[in-house]
């Protein structure tokens, strides 16, 4: 680990430990550093901006309460993202049970300058994601939006890294089928 990385790690640990003791300024620094990542993940899972905002807001409330239980402060980003993802997942499941169908495509505004092929692909993915469970959406968002690896996702969810990989693989197969994309020549 380089000196710069060591210094950065020390700063993270100090910030998390201060925030855990109720230091509002330290907590504010965490919000500034991680809110955007949490909101992006929550949006992909929840499917609409309002629900995503609710999820992230609740996640910060939980973080305020539970920060002291975080054993490794260096993992605070993954921990926060997992909480936001879980809140978004719960909201999505609840709304689905209540029959409120979430359609993320309603929220996506067409970009007139975008490549039309790219726009179609986004719409196709949005359509395919409607068929996924909240857990599958959560895994996709944590892996591909937040960039967490299988080990970190597994650590946060209490499952093995291989379990994460197999679930992600199944989810990708499902998407591939729904998107009608052949498997060959894929590397």
């Amino acid at each position: 680990m380089t000196e710069a990385l060591v210094r950065e790690s020390s700063e993270i640990v100090a910030t998390v430990r201060s925030a855990a003791t109720g230091d509002a300024a330290a907590f504010t620094r965490l919000v500034e550093a991680h809110h955007r990542s949490m909101a992006r993940v929550a949006y992909v899972i929840a499917g609409d901006i309002e629900s995503a905002n609710d999820a992230v807001q609740t996640a910060w409330v939980i973080a305020w309460q539970r920060l002291g239980s975080l054993r490794d402060p260096n993992r605070v980003r993954a921990w926060l993202i997992a909480i936001a993802a879980n809140e978004a997942r719960k909201g999505f499941s609840r709304r689905r049970r209540e029959g409120v169908v979430v359609d993320i495509s309603n929220e996506i505004e067409a970009d007139p300058g975008a490549d039309p092929v790219s726009a179609i692909e986004t719409a196709d993915l949005v359509h395919a994601m409607r068929g996924l469970s909240s857990e599958q959406r959560s895994l996709l968002a944590m892996r591909y939006v937040a960039g967490l690896d299988a080990t970190e996702i597994g650590r946060q969810l209490g499952i093995s890294a291989s379990g994460v990989r197999s679930r992600l693989a199944r989810t990708l197969i499902r998407l591939r089928i729904d998107l009608n994309i052949p498997a060959e020549n894929d590397r």
Partner: protein, 347 residues
């Protein structure tokens, strides 16, 4: 996972484009204030580990007496009925742990939380309480959660119990309770301090469609919320009877120091493959929770019993402790509330 395929890279790029649609500007200081004020530390943080053994035993006796009465009643009913008992119990007596077989879950399965309340006021004989009021009229509460000698003290016109209780208010009753809280509110939500620290209390109420923590100056407010039967008119009640709250689903939570693989194989197998999460409001000693149906919860409990895992003799929830020296961790069964939160208290 580093060996990504073209397809994965395309999915990642498209998901990134979708995520970019999310406006993520935030007033970080305002968010901090909100986090600190909106949802204060749950009553779950009231630790119960210091409970006196004598109290534990007396409470255990109370629970055993209750279970005995229920079992005895069921046997008597079975003896004198010439047909099988009803399969669906819609009026469930208070219970600790998992509901009796055939108990119908509280309906509807989800609900909008309009008021959350937690308090302890020893001077009034009111030990730790928590209550949740839903827009559909459900008033779900639990009390006597603190491990003190007076934990089983009667408060108001309620009998002592640690079961999770459900009563139902009429729409007028819900409006009355909300109005009472809003009338007693002393400051702009989220702007005030937490005056109820001694005695301790936290109240959050729906304002502008959101649950917001409030401050209050009316010292009697927590007592009124702890015992709404003492002041609400009869017309406010749709069903005043104390019934056991039967959740739609349960969460099985394991201690943070415990790995799923350390559970007995049959029990672990029932939970493996489910997506676990760090539940909100969990006591710090609880790590991962798994959402399960009540039937699966029964099977897991049966598997733990079959493996002779020790039941923790706490009288407010079903809980197990793995052998000391082996794993030194616990397994807790927690109810889901209609708003999707977990009801956890201590660990």
């Amino acid at each position: 996972m580093t060996d990504e395929t073209t397809f994965e890279r395309r999915i990642a790029a498209l998901l990134g484009a979708i995520a970019d649609q999310m406006p993520a500007d935030v007033d970080a200081m305002a968010m901090t204030r909100l986090a600190a004020a909106r949802r204060p530390p749950s009553i779950a943080s009231l630790r119960v580990g210091s409970l006196e053994w004598s109290v534990r035993l007396s409470m255990l006796g109370l629970v055993l007496a209750l279970v005995g009465a229920l079992v005895g009643g069921a046997l008597l009913a079975g003896r004198f009925l010439d047909r099988a008992p009803l399969l669906l119990l819609t009026q469930v007596p208070p219970f600790i742990g998992l509901p009796p077989e055939g108990a119908a879950p509280s309906e509807p399965t989800s609900g909008e939380l309009v008021l959350q309340f937690a308090a302890r006021m020893p001077a009034l004989g009111m030990e730790a309480q928590q209550g949740y009021l839903y827009a559909d009229g459900r008033w779900i509460w639990q009390r006597n959660l603190e491990g003190s000698a007076s934990a089983q003290q009667v408060f108001g016109d309620l009998e002592p119990t640690r079961a999770v209780i459900e009563q139902r208010l009429t729409p007028e009753g819900v409006a009355l309770v909300e109005a009472d809280v809003l009338d007693a509110m002393s400051q702009v939500p989220g702007q005030g301090g937490r005056p109820g620290t001694r005695p301790w209390g936290e109240i959050a109420v729906r304002i502008d469609g959101r649950l917001q923590a409030i401050s209050w100056t009316d010292e009697d407010l927590p007592a009124r919320l702890a015992d709404p039967g003492s002041w609400l008119p009869e017309a406010a009640w749709a069903d005043r009877e104390l019934r056991g709250y039967v959740p739609f689903r349960y969460a099985i939570c394991i201690s943070s120091e415990l790995e799923l693989s350390q559970l007995p194989p049959v029990a672990a197998g029932m939970l493996r493959g489910r997506v676990g999460w760090i539940g909100p409001g969990n006591p710090s000693s609880i790590g991962t929770c798994y959402e399960v149906t009540t039937d699966v919860a029964r099977e897991v409990a049966a598997a733990l019993d079959a493996a002779v895992v020790e039941r923790i003799d706490q009288s407010w929830q079903l809980a197990y402790r793995l052998a000391p020296g082996c794993c030194d961790g616990g397994v807790y069964f927690a109810e889901f509330l209609p708003d999707g939160e977990l009801l956890l208290r201590g660990g």
